[in-house]
């Protein structure tokens, strides 16, 4: 134990910037710096770079360039979508529908709105993390002004029936937002055919830079601004544009959506090798999330009798980067709200491990994890007072 290689298996937390993306960004850090709102030549160059990126993002989503607004990331996009729609439509109603397994950028924003007098329905999910469209339909009332359901879950990887949910929202003429931060590049997205009115993106989840995202807002959707000020982004999002990052995001989304097929096949093959290897060699392990309707790179697995953080520390010691729950909350002591929502008891939720594969992972990475992980789990089990050496075969703790 202890050799110094890094096996990165936390692509759901963030991804490395692709070299060609970093190279595309560099000139805008090092050289071209004009403020795109100005009128001289070097400013027009910046403006053109931004508009090229906007077209690239639009194309990846089947949207118009004029419907893409750049933001500082997925959290800002989610906050803007939820608060912007809520406040702009307050006179129509105060009811928002979302799911129990959204990212905190959605959930905490909804909780904030509850304190501001909005009513929020959190639709439950089944044991696989799936939303039942019938539940959505039932939750709709006369005062519903927004439906927000994530495209794919960041923890357990479950892919929701977004097109169906969008169709229901459309039928009731309610704006439909989806947090597609984890989905882009893994699932083909088309905002027109899937009836999506608003969609959040974050560049660093698809090999682009951190600190840059986008919100797609279908033409005609009524929404308040989140950040007021200058006239940037067609007067909808103030702030001098982060040109380098926007250029990087454009390039990254083009690359990520160009080869979804290849990417999926490659990643899924590796993922299944890793997953099957784990399930075969480690007893008392269960996969969380849907067996098929899941992101190609995602594994989320619970190991009974042990706790997640201590697994991560051992894996880190071996150079393996993994996560338990979502990265944002790993500082927290509460078990993941997503794992609780799919019905895991707290103590099992505490023992969950998320491994998310990416483009650069190899079979050798997988084999190394399969060598290390069983040792880590059994080592921790041996010191666990809950573990009786396999004699609790049928226990459910």
């Amino acid at each position: 134990m202890g050799e110094r290689r890094t096996i990165y298996l936390d692509h759901a937390a963030t991804t490395p910037v692709k070299p060609s993306v970093a190279d595309a960004m560099w000139p805008y850090l090092n050289n071209h710096f004009g403020n795109p709102s100005s009128i001289y030549r070097i400013a027009r160059e910046s403006r053109n770079a931004i508009e090229t990126a906007r077209a690239q993002v639009a194309k990846a989503l089947g949207a118009e360039p004029g419907e893409i607004y750049f933001t500082s990331g997925g959290s800002e996009s989610d906050n803007w979508a939820i608060k912007g729609i809520a406040f702009a439509n307050r006179k129509k109603g105060n009811h928002i529908i979302t799911s129990a397994i959204e990212h905190h950028a959605i959930l905490h924003t909804c909780q904030y709105l509850e304190r501001e007098g909005f009513a929020v329905t959190y639709i439950p999910v089944d044991q696989y993390g799936l939303i039942d469209p019938a539940d959505l339909e039932r939750a709709i009332t006369d005062t519903t002004i927004l439906i927000s359901i994530m495209y794919a879950n960041n923890e357990i990887g479950t892919i929701e029936p977004v097109a169906e949910l969008g169709a229901i929202a459309r039928k009731h003429k309610i704006p439909f937002h989806t947090d597609a931060v984890q989905a882009i590049g893994n699932v083909p997205i088309d905002v027109r055919t899937q009836n999506i009115d608003l969609l959040s993106l974050s560049a660093h989840k698809f090999y682009g830079p951190k600190g840059c995202g986008a919100l797609y807002i279908r033409k005609g959707v009524k929404i308040d601004n989140l950040i007021h000020g200058g006239g940037q982004e067609n007067r909808r999002r103030a702030g001098t544009e982060n040109i380098a990052a926007i250029v990087g995001m454009g390039k990254a989304i083009e690359l990520a959506t160009a080869d979804i097929e290849w990417h999926n096949t490659h990643i899924r093959t590796l993922r299944d090798r890793l997953l099957n290897g784990i399930l075969v060699t480690i007893p008392h392990a269960r996969l969380n999330g849907h067996p098929e309707k899941r992101l190609p790179g995602n594994i989320n697995i619970s190991f009974e009798f042990i706790e997640g953080e201590s697994m991560l520390l051992w894996l880190d010691d071996e150079g393996i980067c993994a996560s338990t729950g979502s990265a944002c909350t790993s500082g927290s002591l509460e078990p993941s709200h997503v794992l609780l929502a799919i019905g895991l008891p707290h103590e099992i939720a505490h023992g969950s491990l998320r491994l998310t594969l990416g483009d650069a992972n190899t079979e050798a990475d997988v084999d190394f994890v399969l060598e290390v992980l069983p040792k880590v789990v059994s080592r921790l089990r041996e010191m666990s007072p809950l573990y009786k050496g396999g004699k609790e075969e049928n226990s459910n703790v």
Binding site: F305, I306, E307, G308, E309, S310, L313, W314, D317, G331, S332, L333, E334, P335, P345, H346, E347, H350, E382, M383, S384, P385, L386, V397
Partner: protein
């Protein structure tokens, strides 16, 4: 995030295991909160001659158990009782604030084991001076 000392006691925990016929056992924590510690002690002539633990929990919980069992070994029951969670944390060269409750669990585990021994001896149980357990368990398990 963790000191070298914590990592050392996490990676090479001292005194893992169970004592076959322990003179005292203390179990604290709650699987719902993500940590359980079980402390076993052997007592001879009012001195803790052996201490072992089994722990389900995070790195800090394991390191705290390891350090606490180290600290009580060879101590009289009175001296062992006086070992506070702060002493455990200090011996570990500090714990992140969010993990301080692990050292509290360790202190409580020792106390429970000692009182278990006293009970078995027909002696009155000692009282916790700072019954911080609940407050801390709450922050450990904030749902």
């Amino acid at each position: 995030m963790y000191s070298d000392k914590v990592m050392d006691h996490f990676k090479n925990p001292r005194n893992v295991g169970e004592i076959e016929n322990p003179d005292g056992v203390g179990e604290v924590g709650n699987p719902v909160c993500g940590d359980i510690m079980k402390i076993f002690i052997s007592v001879n002539d009012n001195v803790i001659t052996d201490a072992k633990f089994k722990t389900f929990g995070c790195g800090a919980a394991i390191a705290s158990s390891s350090m606490a069992t180290e600290l009580v070994r060879g101590k009289t029951l009175e001296d062992a009782w006086e070992i506070s969670n702060k002493a455990v944390a200090e011996a570990l060269e500090g714990l992140p604030p969010i993990k301080m409750h692990c050292s509290v669990l360790a202190e409580e585990g020792i106390h429970k084991a000692i009182n278990d021994y006293r009970k078995k001896q027909g002696l009155p149980e000692w009282e916790e001076k700072n019954p911080h357990s609940h407050e801390h368990e709450d922050s450990a398990c904030e749902h």
